[in-house]
Amino acid sequence: MDKVRFRIDGIEIEAPPGTMVLEAALDHGIFVPHYCFHRALSVAGNCRMCMVEVRLPGRDGKLEPARKPSIACATEVAEGMEVLTTTPLVTEARKGVLEFLLINHPLDCPVCDQAGECDLQDFSYEFGEAFSRFREDKLIKHTKDFGPEVRFYGNRCINCTRCVRFTQEIAGSCDLVQVQRGGHNVIDLAPGRVFDHPLSGNVVDICPVGALVSRDMLHRVRVWHLERTPSICPHCATGCNIEIHTQDEVVHRLKPRHNPEVNGYWMCDFGRLGYKHIHAPQRLLEHRWQPRDRAEGGRLGFQSVIELVAEAIRTAGPEGTWALASAWLTNEELWLFRRLFGTEQVALIARPPWQERRFYPVWGDSERNPSLPRQRERGRLLEDGATFMIAADRNPNRTGAERILGEQACAPARLDAFVNAALAGQVRCAVVLASMPDYLPPEPLAQALAAVPETVVVDLADGPLAGAATIVIAGAAWAEKRGTFTNGRGRTQRLEMARPTPGQARTELEVLHALGTQLGRPMGPCSPRRLFGELVGEVAAFAGLSWEGVHHQAPEWSPHMAAQPRRLPVLSPAALVRQRGGGAG
């Protein structure tokens, strides 16, 4: 396709026809402030924040200065166009819009969860004025809980309609609407609805201000204290790219990280709230020995517990030892697991599937609108036009396990074989690396584990699995590991450690490494990165991948979507005074 050539602030840019000026600018690192525009949604053009000066060549080929500014989000690039983002026309237009936005906006920042990552704060600071001419009473709008995850503060809303468009064009539920008109415009639930949609939490992310906030994190932290760690959501085989936000090693929220090929800008609410098990009161914090005869037992240090396990394995002999891995282990852990236990007397445990869910946009009558194909493409994620998918498989790394341990080892038949062998008394020692939250072993498996004389369980929390064990080792949650998962579509993605393991708990990598060493196997250094290198060399399905390559770096374009918050120029106090003095005050 032919490219259109034009200039933004003097920088020569080429873009395909149909590109909007705003997208082209953001793609080339020129920041134009904007509220209503979102890359995955249709263009609304209502906030008027993105105004720029557009000069087009006249008949004589000379550029004419514009009489009024244009909105960058709804202006298509054109050959020879000159876009200016810092002329007096533009800066004055921005000041105007911000003044209007703030007249009815409450001074809520001290109690508002968005403060610190609020586009209204940021843009007011960077592009607005330090004073207001507004002397009247402010309008009051409703505050309500739209659903289990989302609370709405009407007074803070700037009516950008991102949330409304999200429920139409991504979630396809049309739960939110804009009611009233003029200054009384306000977002509300569509009649008779509750916003309990599985994607509801995303409106909190896309709301540029603190109007839609998370009920889960309400008033819990100030966002500037949060540390952000890139990771992968483990709750289904989609493998949404996420950020884990922690303060002092406590996980406070999960946010989606943009990846156009996996999750777009979104994640589902199950995944979003799926960090609670990390801090659950039942979390295992120490290792223990609980022999079946209850004669002795009790707490153990890590070294002692590893010695005990090694002893049990040695006593049982290769014939009598089985090992079970869960589909929540990282590829690196599975690789070490295979080096230690092979692929014969091993099986896979996993959480049972749920209903797969796909979401489609609702365009209604506008189906035949010619500008629609492009808008459709914006939100589209899957081949069939779906905007998001929650996979049926509720485990993050079944594909990785199948690739490393082999399909047979991961088939249900293999687990049945273990159960039968255990119930027939042929298994002397079983090692289970679970570390799966909310896992209930099926009845036959629980019986089989209870029938084995020495059952070692590495898990996160006390429960039926740990109850069936003779040796319990406190394992690590996914947020406490480095490594890679391979999602249901065969994409290998990296997760980073967001917090250390609590108490005595150890990662499965540490457990396997210590155990191998204790058993006298040559283990070598076992960093996740090194193990990944081995995997690439030895398992065909991983050939060609690199540790750096499996980390998707989200392109930085909006404060909420980037791995790092956008850096704002710091105004000196002198500049602030100058700014204040400059106006009528």
């Binding site: 209502n46 004055e92 105007g96 936005l101 008109r181 003029g182 200054g183 009558d365």
Partner: protein
């Protein structure tokens, strides 16, 4: 039910009866046009603007569309769509169809040209309201002198003070100074205002311009669809300031604020609603500044105590168009 609504429903009914609406109209198979009962739900005025109509049809909410394409290129269902005033469409058969002239189109055009001025030929239904003895709709040639028009509408017992010549968003003119303007597109443009919807609102000396502006701004604050920031916030803000001035609680800097917010709204919204509510502000302050200042200085509406009390009636404020 309002008369206008009854007539609209009646006209739709009549069109069905004559086979102009319904299935296979004009005997063409598959040419179906249906009109539901006209909506009674109050859509904001801004939705009636050219850009507002097509999204309204798409049931996408009654708000003007920011699509860079004009409806004539891509409107209803993405097809080219003609959106015009009823007046324009109603005159078409007479001008180009030779309606009433035995189908002679040339005669129709000649007849049309025989009225009005060189640049603005033809007729225009002027809706004259306010301080005249016989308010109503007058179909007159374009270019009629304002003074003649007002005499035709019966004149008035007290001196006139101001006129809004083209619907509520047109800039206000002072009377009697402007009695000689020619009521056509060019004449009014020259006078610094516009013909607009040809709704002529006449005010006599008992009318308080601040009160009239407040009345207009109340209308605009109510009618903004509320999607664009400058219009959504600006309409309400301006209304509150002018209400305060009228109540005698104004400050001198309020006038600068009003003019400043108008500058910041004009040309920065999707439809021309920002212009519509700002032009009255700008023109009222420009032409009647002393009246605003008197309100602020005296901390009350000087007219309520003065001429209006003398006239013994509540002034007819500018009717909203």
């Amino acid at each position: 039910m309002p008369l206008g609504y009854q007539r609209l429903v009646g006209a739709v009914q009549e069109a069905y009866e004559r086979g102009l609406l319904g299935k296979g109209i004009f005997g063409i198979d598959g040419f179906d046009v249906e009109i539901d009962d006209p909506p009674r739900a109050p859509a904001p005025t801004s939705a009636a603007k050219r850009r507002g109509c097509s999204p309204r049809w798409r049931a996408a909410g009654a708000t003007p569309s920011s699509s860079p394409l004009s409806p004539a290129v891509s409107g209803l269902f993405g097809c080219p769509t003609v959106v015009n005033n009823v007046v324009t469409i109603a005159y078409l058969p007479y001008i180009f169809g030779g309606f009433g002239r035995g189908g002679d189109a040339e005669a129709g055009i000649a007849w049309w040209r025989s009225h009005g001025t060189e640049k603005s030929p033809g007729l225009m239904p002027y809706s004259i309201s306010g301080h005249v003895r016989a308010p109503g709709v007058y179909e007159l040639p374009l270019g009629t002198r304002l003074g003649d028009m007002l005499e035709l509408a019966g004149g008035w017992e007290r001196p006139w003070k101001a006129v809004i010549p083209g619907g509520s968003s047109a800039k206000i003119l002072r009377l009697p100074e402007s009695l000689d303007v020619s009521m056509d597109f060019e004449g009014l443009m020259q006078a610094g205002t516009m013909l607009g919807s040809a709704g002529v609102i006449v005010m006599d000396e008992t009318v308080c311009v601040v009160d009239a502006l407040y009345n207009l701004l109340r209308f605009y604050a109510h009618e903004s669809c509320g999607q664009c920031t400058p219009c959504r916030e600006g309409t309400g803000w301006a209304e509150k300031i002018v209400a305060r001035i009228e109540k005698g609680q104004g400050r001198m800097e309020d006038l600068d604020t009003l003019l400043g917010l108008a500058d910041r709204a004009i040309g920065k919204t999707i439809c021309v609603f920002a212009e519509a509510f700002c032009w009255p502000i700008q023109s009222c302050i420009a032409l009647f500044r002393e009246e605003f200042e008197a309100h602020i200085r005296e901390r009350r509406c000087p007219l309520r105590a003065g001429p209006r009390a003398a006239a013994g009636e509540r002034a007819v404020g500018a009717g909203a168009h």
